[in-house]
């Protein structure tokens, strides 16, 4: 982070000098181009004219205005901001992977196909399920793929099921996906401890229920203790159980989700499998499912045929494509590199340390920031501002901004929606005890400041490149481009 006074926040276009050049294209074949004037664009695109050094300096300066996992503790709940191993990046950049055309002949793609096949088989085993597609580009995209697969499954059985049951603690993507797919959503109120209410669920399950979508552990960081009974009840009603795998970091190598009774789940490689978030993407997703659902997964998948790997376009029952070409293979190479670096036991150690870290933070802060749930948490905990700060009119947002001033990224705030003023902390397994101690100290300092000088906290952040921004103006008079 650079000091505030030295910030030159001009846009690249404002640095532009007519006639200045960066990269040139000198291929002599250019001269062969010929285009009728009526097909040509009339104006020049409004792009900056900069030297290469201008560009490097501009974007390097911008990079320094960001918090990131490499520079700051980033305890964003449900996002699993763990260390992104550098080795993964090197693997993805290998020529043979990076420069492979998606329509390359299978004979030319044996390395990548083998990698995808091995990644898929290992994931099936790790999760206790039978089949996988690596095509989805992200978590929400996986949900879409999963529900579509479920839909095709029911259609093949000539069953008309139109409802998706979603607990009120779920990620917003669950109901959004359901509605995008033409399903109606049944919202299920959680029990006071945040768990699904089995008796209430049974009342809503019926011949119209297609899928029960649930996050395990749930968004309060609590395991669904009755999951077997829940899955059984859903199955008795003829419905499928979909597990939102956003919180898989709590279970990996410790529990096989397939054994819990679920039918399908999704993965977020950019969460559990350490691929970088890149400022909001790219990610990669997967749907892992039981045998019964396998024929409906998107195509192509990879099949081993003798010693050779081939793209498998299925038997015609597939839902088709959810993305052009194969999927975010570049991200999957990173995930595979991470896979190679862990035995099953070491995956278990990830879950163990993620759970210890979350409970450790929770215990350090419990007196000042009461935990919403009264029991131990899994990989993340949901805290609240507590009576002292509430009495001063301070909100979760103020605490979030106070953390920025102390060199910590804020946790996820105001989610899950069922918790008033939620502060959702997921430390992940890659943070050390010392970092968590320092974070807790900052949270305590914020509490003390909030009590002694609430205005100072309300005015925070004070040390960032900008102060609190006018989001009302941004939305009322959108300025979205130069």
């Amino acid at each position: 982070m650079i000091c505030v006074s030295s910030i030159d926040n001009r846009l690249s276009i404002e640095r532009s000098e007519p006639g200045r050049r960066g990269l040139k294209i000198k291929n002599p074949l250019r001269g062969k181009a010929c285009l009728k004037p009526e097909l040509r664009r009339k104006d020049r695109p409004k792009l900056p004219e900069l030297s290469e050094f201008d560009v490097i300096r501009h974007f390097t300066r911008l990079s320094r205005l960001n918090f990131s996992v490499d520079t700051h503790f980033y305890p964003l709940g449900s996002c699993t901001m763990k260390y992104n191993p550098r080795f993964n990046e090197e693997a993805a950049a290998l020529e043979g992977f990076a420069n492979l055309h998606p329509l390359a002949h299978d004979d030319c793609s044996q390395g990548t196909l083998e990698l995808l096949h091995d990644l898929g088989s290992r994931l099936n085993e790790l999760l206790g399920l039978d089949a996988i597609t690596l095509q989805p580009a992200a978590g929400a995209h996986s949900e879409f793929t999963g529900l579509l697969t479920a839909k095709a499954y029911f259609e093949s059985r000539k069953e008309e099921r139109s409802e998706i049951i979603v607990p009120d603690s779920a990620h917003g993507t669950n109901p959004a996906t359901a509605s995008m797919m033409g399903f109606s959503t049944v919202n299920l109120a959680s029990r006071p401890d945040g768990r699904l209410d089995l008796e209430n669920l049974k009342k809503h399950l019926g011949p119209k229920t297609a899928v029960l979508m649930m996050t395990v552990p749930n968004t309060l960081g609590i395991f669904e203790t009755q999951i077997e009974e829940i899955c059984r009840a859903a199955h008795e009603a003829g419905a499928l159980v979909y597990m939102d795998g956003a919180n898989l970091n709590a279970l990996i190598g410790m529990v096989k989700p397939g054994e819990l009774g679920i039918d399908m789940m999704h993965l977020n490689f950019h969460k559990t499998f350490s691929t970088p978030h890149g400022g909001g993407g790219p990610g990669a997703g997967a749907i892992v499912c039981s045998k019964a659902l396998a024929p409906f997964l998107p195509v192509p998948t990879v099949r081993k045929e003798g010693g050779r790997f081939v793209s498998d376009f299925g038997d015609g029952r597939s839902i088709g494509k959810v993305k052009s070409f194969f999927g975010n293979t570049g991200v999957l190479v990173r995930a595979y590199a991470y896979m190679l670096a862990h035995s099953a036991k070491e995956f278990g150690e990830i879950a163990r340390c993620a759970i210890i870290n979350a409970n450790y933070v929770r215990s350090l802060l419990k007196d000042l920031y009461p935990s919403y749930s009264k029991e131990y948490c899994m990989h993340e905990c949901v805290l609240t501002p507590g009576p002292d700060l509430a009495a001063k009119g301070l909100k979760t947002l103020d605490i979030a901004k106070g953390l920025l001033d102390r060199g910590f990224h804020a946790p996820t705030v105001y989610f899950p929606l069922i918790v008033h003023e939620a502060i959702m902390i997921e430390p992940t397994e890659t943070e050390s005890k010392e970092t968590l101690d320092a974070f807790a100290a900052a949270m305590k300092e914020i509490h003390a400041l909030g009590v002694s000088d609430p205005q100072a906290l309300k005015d925070s952040p004070h040390t960032m490149p900008v102060k609190r921004l006018d989001e009302v103006q941004a939305a009322r008079q959108p300025n979205l481009r130069w």
């Binding site: 989001e471 009302v472 941004a474 939305a475 009322r476």
Partner: protein, 129 residues
């Protein structure tokens, strides 16, 4: 323009002012306060048939969106173009400059079932947390 005491209220926080069979609909003072700065309004097109208790407009703040439910069956006869251009009008005067649309009621008697000012006040108290 009506006063807060003179209009009827729904449980979904719309107000309705009926003159003959023409009703004016807006967002209650309470609701605009809860939402904070309103940044965008999407209004129904004139001529659209409205169904009682079905969403027919959307009001957005920075981080929330609020469906407006029609208090009556009827047809949209006018919309307040001014709030589309300047949604802050809803915050400034929800009952005057901030009205949303006018509806020609199929059956004005339907308004009888809505809450008056006092009943709405009680309703808010009951639902406060």
């Amino acid at each position: 323009m009506p006063k807060a005491e003179e209009v009827k209220y729904t449980k979904t926080h719309e107000w309705l002012h009926l003159a003959g069979n023409e009703g004016t609909v807006g967002l209650s003072e309470h609701a605009q306060k809860e939402m904070g700065d309103i940044v965008f309004v999407e209004l129904p097109k004139p001529g659209r048939k409205l169904e009682k208790d079905k969403p027919c407009a959307v009001v957005e703040s920075v981080k929330s969106a609020f469906d407006i439910y029609s208090p009556l069956n009827g047809e949209v006869v006018a919309v307040n173009e001014a709030v589309s251009g300047d949604p802050a009008l809803i915050n400034q005067s929800p009952l005057e400059g901030g009205w949303l649309f006018k509806v020609k009621a199929d059956n004005p008697a339907e308004a009888g079932a809505l809450m008056d000012f006092a009943a709405y006040g009680d309703f808010l108290k009951q639902n406060a947390h």
